[in-house]
Amino acid sequence: MRRPSNLSLVDVILWALRVAIVVGVAVGTFATLSTTRLSGDQWRDLLIFGISQGSVYALIALGYTLVYGVLFMINFAHGDVFMFGGMTAFFVADYLSDNGILNSSPFIAVPLILLVGAISSTVVAILLERIAYRPLRRAPRLVPLITAIGASLFIANSVRGLYGDGVKAYPRIDLFQGTIDFFGIPILKSHATVIVAAVVMMAALYWFVEKTRTGRAMRAVSEDKDTAALMGIDVDRIISVTFAIGGALAGAAGVLYAIVYNQVIWSMGFLPGIKAFTAAVLGGIGNIFGAMLGGVALGILESLAPTLLLAGFGIPSPNQLRDVVAFSVLVLVLIFRPYGIFGRPESK
């Protein structure tokens, strides 16, 4: 009788891939650094930009991870929830700017804008859950995913229909112009704001999940939905709350994103959405701390890698390939370590 070999073609390909990546990263980094085209300051600025970008990813990633934790589904439409917050908040920002309130009382105006963004995203997230996902709770996993894809298309294009095709330029917020001095390091105020706001929100979430009753209920539902129901937890309500929190964070992230990039557009949900999902997976999907860390890590990676790795290979216009960095991280993490940094492999 023939004994089949244990080493399959698949394993060979995977090992070749691992080797190629390690070698590629090493060579590229070495080549870049040895040709030293950037100054220390420039690296530092890239790093800070990466951190601020990563903070936005982290906030969005939290939404993915929270929803996955309770429903084990990928809310593909989450990126568009993020977009919706930024878009709705734009109208408020515009209005406040026309009134002059935006720049005369920024400490009232800005939180208000953030709040509007968060609330509008929350509404969309909850509607999404009730209309599109709840009826499909027991369906095979592909079904809610396809629904989520459809919902994503629908939301993005509805916004396009409602508010128009073009970019909407956020009004200038004087408070966020210029740089701030952080222990001798000049940081753009917009970046600093994003980082600080994100940290505050993440801390609030952490406190919420760890210390409050609802947070405990959320953790219970993500452990074992049926047992949680037997313990008297209203699973449907908790799931709605989870979507709401994820939505709120994403909406706030949408506003922060607009503060950095000064614009919003109906299509802005897709890329940050996928990247945030990558961050969530990187950190270990279902793990809150992982999502936060993964977001920042991805932001930094995305910011540094084109220059650090790719330029070393003499690749022209490496920044074009910045998205490739994020997608590659996604693909590689899912292939080699789908449970992420803080996750554990499912045993067989």
Binding site: M1, R3, P4, N6, S347, K348
Partner: protein
């Protein structure tokens, strides 16, 4: 087209050919939980053997290792002299091991006929390009397989007219029978039945017991059962192995097991159903 005749080995006596399956020191741990510990187990050819034990004793885990779904953490399992402890499930199936499941896992949205026909997958040779080309050999193979599927349906007692029903629409008893038909379709040497009488009333249980005996007789099968219903176990098994907390605590004929104090304690001590 040559087919290996599973009965061809008959001319060698069972004793000479040796046990069909030999498991030595099989241990299986899951992240600190020891599900099976140092189990030695042999299945003589053409015998009917049962594994019993209280809930959680590790019976299904052991079963899963015999069919290649799990791999033992340590120890060896040899089937027909071949070490199967590192083989993938589909390879183990092709060697002649077939199984049913405790909670019936049919291909719900496939027809009864398709379920049985797919059971024969390992014994068929049609490849995709042959299917596309529609060669006569493939058509014949499909016809023969279909005929065999109908024969198996008859053997297990599923009415012919149900052939085009979706598996999920069958009554419970027929679903159990279908699962057995699917397992038999591959002409296995070893048939693993996981609680075949679960959910059956005494009448059906009796039928199933007789049927298992018939299977061994008519198809020259070797059968391994997991069962909770003691009447079935005692009635049909030649040898019984008892597991408790992942370890083998007793082994012997039904009479020996009935009288074994450790077995009685394992069951009564945990108020398990008998």
């Amino acid at each position: 087209m040559t087919t290996t005749d599973p009965l061809a080995t008959q001319h060698v006596s069972d004793a000479e050919a040796g046990p069909l399956l030999v498991a030595r020191d099989v241990t299986k741990t899951f992240e600190g939980l020891v599900a099976n510990r140092d189990i030695d187990f042999e299945i003589p050819r053409h015998s009917i053997v049962s594994i019993i034990g209280p809930n959680g004793a590790g019976k299904t885990t052991f079963f899963n290792q015999l069919s290649g779904v799990y791999h033992p953490t340590s120890g060896s399992i040899e089937f027909e002299g071949i070490d199967i402890s590192t083989l993938a499930p589909h390879v183990v199936a092709s060697l002649g091991v077939a199984r049913t499941y405790q909670n019936i896992r049919l291909f719900q949205n496939m027809t009864v006929l398709a379920n049985v026909m797919v059971g024969r997958h390992v014994r068929m040779r049609g490849q995709w390009y042959q299917a596309i080309a529609g060669l006569a050999g493939i058509r014949d193979e499909e016809k023969v397989t279909k005929r065999r599927a109908f024969d198996l349906m008859e053997l297990v007692g599923i009415p012919r007219a149900s052939a085009t029903e979706l598996a999920k629409n069958l009554p419970y008893g027929d679903q159990r029978r279908l699962e057995i038909a699917r397992a038999l379709a591959s002409d296995p040497k070893l048939l693993l039945l996981d609680e075949p009488t679960a959910g059956m009333n005494p009448g059906e249980t009796r039928q199933m017991t007789d049927f298992i005996a018939r299977l061994r007789r008519e198809l020259q099968l070797t059968i391994l059962l997991i069962e909770h219903d003691m009447k079935v176990v005692m009635g049909v098994s030649e040898r019984i192995t008892v597991l408790d907390y992942g370890e083998k605590i007793a082994e012997g004929t039904p009479a020996e097991i009935r009288a074994n104090p450790r077995v009685i304690e394992a069951y009564l001590g945990k108020q398990a159903t008998a």
